[in-house]
Symmetry: C2
Subunit: 400 residues, 2 copies
């Protein structure tokens, strides 16, 4: 028996595993060194108290026969589907509760969702991109059309840039806005062009909205469903990881409108069938905690945490401004995407920061070859570390 | 774009969804009726106090910066992988911690694991079987060889029964012991025959050990790794759902030995790559609760709960014995698999029990066509309900 040979087409090591390995080796060679970790986008602030209280309450529910919850509905608990749909409805997006699916997180869902599309598809990925988009499609045996983002298009490619030979070829189109890693955000006009293109060419957009809570500018869309025509071409995948510090607590959600059909098949119904076959739902305890995020108190508390991360972004942006480095993001996104100084390669810059100032970032090359020459900082670190890292970064870049 | 057309080959409704629909309709027509639910295998006892205390502690960890956990290792937290490996080692099975993978539960894992085998495989499923085995493989586009279990082989098929034309054709072989739905258990000799067959024919066994904690007889294997040669041919998938009441709390584990290779590819390494690409691990809180199951106190408490379910099994078995009905299981498994009386069809018997005595069970036909004429009772109900259901069942069958 030959297993899934597509695994042989994957690069040896996943980006973040590679970073972890390098930093581990550094710490083994230099024990006791404090590293300023701004690489992997993990949050540093604990869960807010509205969530903690609800988690405790839910644990208590599981201790007593009368309130104990066994198998959860596979597509999500009614109370949480409604809370999430209400959150959309609060932003004037009309959505029914059963268009919302609760997940264990966006990264899990991005892998799982490919199942309803099959294994002979062509997908369009705008690079630099979250590496799992590419890897999950390599594993599925899908063909990948790469669309390069760069300074010339402000890291926001438009359908007009699709090469003629690739026009209409993509079955799936990944869009991440606010973008990981570049922090770039699609305006309504720019996103509308993609929606129109997808509807025209029978493609489906996988819209990754994991960072929507970081948008500051009024005019930037938080959800693809704010735009006309998205209900017939888009799946939206969201996460509480960055919004509410759920990276280690795990919960997310996915929207699949009833109107989304391809080849006579209804994608919402297919996902229901997938979930009822392949999962027994997300933990009751975690879903209760997640529901607390959508209460008035929960929203207030998570936005206090987001403010802390935004202040981190400001600190870093000021440092880069001071030394005249070009960068993207930071304003509507928790990532800052900077140009490596002096034409340095991104892994070279990674090593330099690690060795000289003990700052860990993410080499742009890890997000696709067109990310070479760039470097990503996450703004999720502790304020104290971020201030020190910004100081060190500024000093280093001034001396270059 | 045409989505995954294999979904069109699935039957319209998943077994348990079908049962839920029928009972819902009955309750709408007969409001206020108390139903004795022994259909879906959901537990009725709350989580034990060792787990509850640990869950609370873990929630508190998430409330404070110094103890807060962000992203978990994708393959499972070290503390839980070690606790599970210790559990195996305690039964004299040699296993390294990194051969254990933490999952969100066996049902999730049974769907996900197919990814490392690819989408052009032939799988052997012994029916009657847990319906998700079949459905997940239909979705993947795999060919299915069905091996019928019945009274003639004690619901335990042996490789000797494989038709000549199918010999050596299966890439994957599903074995569930203790079996859902029949409650039958493979002896060491009978299981060894499958291990030898798999090693001989280059197949991989997916061993579903979700019910191992219910084994009473000393000689019955709890794990396939108790037997010689399993490390080179078997993946073992387990769950805390039934063992520790985690149906709604969600945690399980999968063992993939380092020795398991096919086509020059190492399946443990492939699963690491799958997990690091497609998940961000299982919730820290839930993993802490799961680890408590493997403590001395946790083990004692969960076995007190299991005793309650075993007493339910005894009550049902006595009722069936009294009316001379043939049945399987109950002793080493939480399911009782009875022959429908008077040659009745299994959905016919379902309707009869629902309408006449308000007892909900599971029609054998839902587990494959050779399950027709049989009926499954879960022993996870409340003792009070089980006693009453057994009484009603006995009275009904006596009058038939």
């Amino acid at each position: 028996m030959i297993p899934n040979i597509n695994y042989n087409n994957l690069k040896d090591s996943y980006l973040f595993a590679g970073i972890a390995k390098k930093t581990k080796a550094y710490l083994e060679a230099n024990p006791g060194t404090h590293l300023y970790r701004m690489g992997i986008g993990d949050v540093s602030l604990p869960l807010c108290s509205a969530v903690i209280e609800e988690l405790h309450r839910a644990v208590d529910d599981q201790a007593v026969k009368g309130t104990f919850h066994g198998y959860m509905p596979e597509c999500g608990a009614d109370f949480l589907r409604k809370a999430i749909a209400d959150y959309y409805r609060g932003r004037k997006i009309s959505l029914s509760d059963d268009e919302v699916f609760v997940s264990s997180g966006a990264s899990d869902e991005l892998g799982d969702i490919l199942d309803i599309f099959g294994h002979d598809k062509t997908v369009m990925i705008m690079e630099p991109a979250y590496p799992a988009y590419v890897d999950a499609n390599i594993i599925a045996g899908n063909r990948i059309i790469r669309l390069s983002a760069g300074e010339d298009n402000g890291f926001l490619p438009s359908p007009a840039e699709i090469p003629t030979e690739a026009w209409g070829k993509a079955d799936l189109i990944y869009i991440c806005s606010p973008n990981n890693p570049t922090g770039a955000v699609f305006s309504k006009t720019a996103l509308q062009a993609w929606i129109d293109y997808a509807n025209q060419t029978d493609a489906v957009i996988i819209f990754d909205a994991a960072y929507e809570a970081f948008i500051e500018e009024e005019a930037i869309p938080h959800s693809i469903y704010e735009l006309t025509g998205a209900r017939t071409c888009a799946v939206e995948i969201c996460s509480l990881s960055k919004t509410a510090g759920f990276t280690g607590t795990r919960c997310g959600y996915t929207v699949i409108p009833h109107d989304l059909e391809r080849g006579g098949m209804n994608l919402n119904k297919m996902w229901v069938r997938n979930r009822t076959t392949k999962t027994n739902g997300v933990s009751y305890i975690i879903q209760r905690g997640a529901a607390a995020v959508f209460t008035e108190r929960g929203q207030q508390e998570i936005h206090e945490n987001i403010k802390v991360y935004k202040e981190n972004a400001n600190v870093l942006m000021e440092a880069l401004d001071a030394v005249g480095i070009t960068y993207y993001g930071g304003k509507n996104a928790p990532y800052i995407w900077m140009k490596c100084p002096g034409g340095m390669g991104s892994w070279e810059f990674f090593d330099k920061l690690l060795n000289e100032i003990h700052v860990v970032g993410t080499p742009g090359e890890g997000f696709g070859s067109c990310g070479e020459g760039y470097f990503r900082f996450s703004t999720f670190g502790s304020p104290k570390d971020t201030v020190e890292a910004a100081k060190r970064l500024k000093a280093l870049l001034e001396n270059n």
